[in-house]
Amino acid sequence: MITDKNRLLRAIGDIDDKYITEILSEDAQGKQNVVKVPFNQRPVIRNMKYYLPAAAALLIVVACIKSGVFSGMGATSSGGNNAADASPQAAYSPTASADEAACEPMMECDSAMQTDGMISEAASNDKTDNGSVNYLGPDLSEAEVDMINPFTDCGSLAEAERIAGFEFDVPDDLEPDLEAVYRAMDGKLIEVIYFDRGEEIYRIRKGTARDVSGDYNEYSVSVCVDAATWAGELKGYKEGLTNCAVWTDEDGFGYSLTTGAAPIKTDRVCEIIDLLMQ
């Protein structure tokens, strides 16, 4: 036993991602609940009966003007109505000083909003389905979202080996009934993905790093293997089933096998690795 209450605080830092993204998403959306503000700090609300008619009239005038402008501008207006869209890089600076300027702490923002008695709309924040949260990030154009894929799709293993700059001895009869897709990363990695009627069964990799799996999952079962031609670790959620295997060879290359949706029997994974490392 450890008599250290700090461990509990540290352990809370390792809770499931979903509980963290739940909060980050809320923050990205801003305050959604009404903030209680003392009555004497609500001059706008108290005088709303005077402002509402004026605001309504102003809105009507603005709508009329906009309508006239857009009808006159025609189709070309949609492409040039936002200078920021035309130059997204202007809003984006990777330098530390610019980052600092854009990085006003949320706490301070919150305080400022509370002082004003206003509810944040956080209009520039964004949330995506995969837990990604965009905090006042730049609005990038579609062209910028397209990025260079570090992988090159290859027609054959030989082509992948040529791009990677090293060999990967995958027996031709390793998976005769499965479709194989070859990919390579220049000078770094070869990947072979096996599909069965479009469904990924598993993928194997060889690369210059020790762990090339790219698998961040935490598994409850881990078995270390020190075989004649390879040494590595087989990981999964149940004994006898493997979701991810990583191993190395004598030359320092790293290998991995990661399964698709379903784990593979550990014995079969060992067989595959044995075949690869013969």
């Binding site: 509990l8 963290i20 809320e26 999952n217």
Partner: protein, 185 residues
């Protein structure tokens, strides 16, 4: 830029990965660090260290949820910095208060070492899973993000006493969870 694209930049060892990460998450990470450290310089240092650690972790690591991955790193780095003498001199923000509150969950201040029964992380996740959404979010804001009670109350439009009561009940339920798993008593 999508998270997956940023992660691919890390895999390609492109320094643009750090720039894109800073652009998208810099403000959020600084906020996380600042809640723990309560010092702008230290928070900036923690965020810079986060980028460096991320750079060293990816590859081979491929985070499932990039924002949570970064947040955890920043939080851990910030807590590590609190252990350093210079940070202690400037005060540790909410952390002493958090520790005092969490001590209630450990009846005799004992937590098992890894491998001794159910892992603490699993107990915490099971506990959070069983909490009602409002209580869970308040708990995570307080003990993961280190938010002040006042801050949480204002965010949700609740009274501070309500938040304190919710936290106290959550801590009591956590204490029972820990007890049931044989962690304490």
């Amino acid at each position: 830029m999508e998270d997956s694209a940023i992660i691919e930049l890390f895999f390609a060892r492109s320094e643009e990965a750090i720039k894109e990460t800073a652009s998208k998450y810099g403000r959020m990470l600084k906020s996380v660090a600042l809640r723990v450290l309560r010092n702008m310089e230290d928070a900036e240092e923690a965020v810079s260290d986060t980028y460096m650690k991320t750079w060293n972790s990816i590859p081979p690591t491929r985070p499932n949820v990039f924002s949570a991955f970064l947040t955890k790193i920043t939080r851990n780095i910030s807590l590590d910095m609190l252990d350093k003498e210079h940070a202690e001199k400037r005060g540790a923000g909410e952390i002493p208060a958090l520790l005092d509150e969490l001590e209630e969950c450990i009846a005799d201040n004992r937590i098992p070492v890894p491998g001794e029964g159910m892992e603490l992380r699993e107990i915490l996740n099971a506990f959070l899973e069983g909490e009602k959404p409002e209580a869970r979010k308040i708990f995570v804001r307080r003990y993961f993000f280190g938010s002040e009670v006042k801050e949480i109350a204002e965010f949700y439009g609740l009274g501070e006493s309500k938040v304190k009561m919710t936290l106290a009940r959550s801590r009591e339920r956590l204490r029972k969870c820990l007890e049931e798993e044989g962690v304490t008593v």
